[in-house]
């Protein structure tokens, strides 16, 4: 079964992952995605009736510890990498509502 992934779908998923893309890029990715997804469809051949999906790694068990307060990274140190900061906070443009 061949599945075409059109540019509309590409733009939709690009938006889901917050990726700005151009029309040309959407077209290029559309062709490549169709080939890749088509290859992945081979998984349909595998009988997975009654198979439990792996959701963890082999040694998965709950790891609990006391909730002890410890010093964390110094605020000034943390903000060294922030593109913009003000009064000890990371600064970004308006997130909610009107300015």
């Amino acid at each position: 079964m061949t599945q075409t992934i059109d540019t509309k779908t590409i733009k939709h998923v690009a938006n889901l992952v917050r990726l700005g893309i151009s029309e040309e890029e959407a077209q290029k990715f559309s062709g490549q995605f169709s080939a890749i997804i088509d290859y992945f469809n081979m998984l349909n051949e595998v009988d997975t009736e009654n198979v439990i999906p792996a959701s963890d790694v082999a040694n998965a068990e709950n790891v609990l510890r006391e909730d002890v307060v410890k010093p964390s990274m110094d605020r000034e140190e943390f903000l060294k990498n922030a593109p913009q900061s003000e009064r000890g906070y990371v600064k970004v443009p308006t997130v909610l509502g009107e300015e």
């Binding site: 490549q32 890749i36 349909n44 959701s55 790694v57 443009p93």
Partner: protein, 486 residues
Amino acid sequence: MQLTNLTIQEASELLKTKKISSVELTKETLKRIHDVDKKVKSYVTVTDDLALKQAKQADERIAKGENITPLTGIPFAMKDCISTRDVKTTCSSKILENYVPQYNATVTNKLADAGAVLVGKTNMDEFGMGSSCENSAFFNTHNPWNLNHVPGGSSGGSAAAMSASLATFTIGEDTGGSVRMPAGFCNVTGIKPTYGRVSRYGLISLVSSFDCIGPMTRDAYDCATVLEAIAGHDEKDSTTYNSAVPNYTKNINKSVKGMKLGIPKEYFVAGMEAGVESSIQEAIRTYEKLGMEIHEVSLPTTQYGLPVYYLLLFAEASSNLARFDGTRFGLSKSENAKDVIDIYLQTRREGFGDEVKRRIMLGAYALSAGYYDAYYLKAQKVRTLLRRDFETAFSKVDILLAPTCPTTAFKLGEKTSDPLEMYLSDIYVVATNPAGVPAMALPCGFSNDMPVGMQLIGKHLDEQTIFQVGHAYQQVTDWHKQLPLI
């Protein structure tokens, strides 16, 4: 004696007996990097000053005779996805081009505590996404055996640096073959440990349920030495095992006679380069001569390993890479941004390369409504079957042997235009990561003058057997001692 060609074991002996100093060894290494790496281009950052400072400290430690470990004074390089405080950590991505972490990864701390000397950070496919190192946003790394060929990926810089004697050992990271595949291409030994054996704290995540940090070295003995130093429980990574780390080198000389070596028949199919196949067959005969019992085994889900691996990678990577949003660290593009979404869109568009864009979009696609069951969930089910394959095989044999790649290192540019073709070069190395089992690559011959690698795949947490079987082979062969003329 060329100091840069020494194994860890040899260099450590000379350091401890004060025949050489760490400063001397480190200077030689840095000199060679500045001479030779113009051609190989394995380093993204060379840390001359830090290295010399650490080397001096190591020499003082040795002079005092205090707390000397097998890695004290030994120069090493780290894949650039592992955090190093005050040293740029880029993942070979534009989005992290100027990122300087404020903290160390647990592995970085452990190596510093052992007295190892960091000489630099190595090139990689951007965020570990690639099989040739050609997806680095900065430059291509070249295979020291033939500069027109790729070193493999994604830990191509670590493999090439090790191969060209530009460090005494290197640290790589293996999400789906990223240590073993380039190790095979560059004629070095490298292990992907059991998932959870080495802490991932401070590793920039690609696929959180696959990622494994592992050493790349001249031989199995050195590999055991480094793994011993970096493995162990870490309260900062809840997936690490609590069990004690064995003294791998202590029992490495034990005979392999009578042990059962499994050959998975699904790994020997049409399309394998003739010289690769003959080298692997020769290695099997060597093990037969060493007294191992050879058994054919079946891993029936093998051909589905690649789609399982890539689908789960896309899905996990698409959420893991959401953190690169241009607000707290890394590249930030906010020209005329009306809102925070604009910053995300612009930063990620400019900061990520094509392969990263492809994979995070494919991940969102595989996880999105209507496709989740068909792709993500289906892949997790087949992952269960992959894991069962290994369990069944290991109920019959002690260890498995397989090639690391169907071919030797391909040429630069040969596969860049077709992403799917590039994915297919990972066919032999990807299945172990969804299953979590450990595997080590080691040199086993040459085909058309390029190195051939094989891998030994072991049971969960049984790195000991892998080292023992790898070491036994390297006692009777000298492929691992062959160095490129560069």
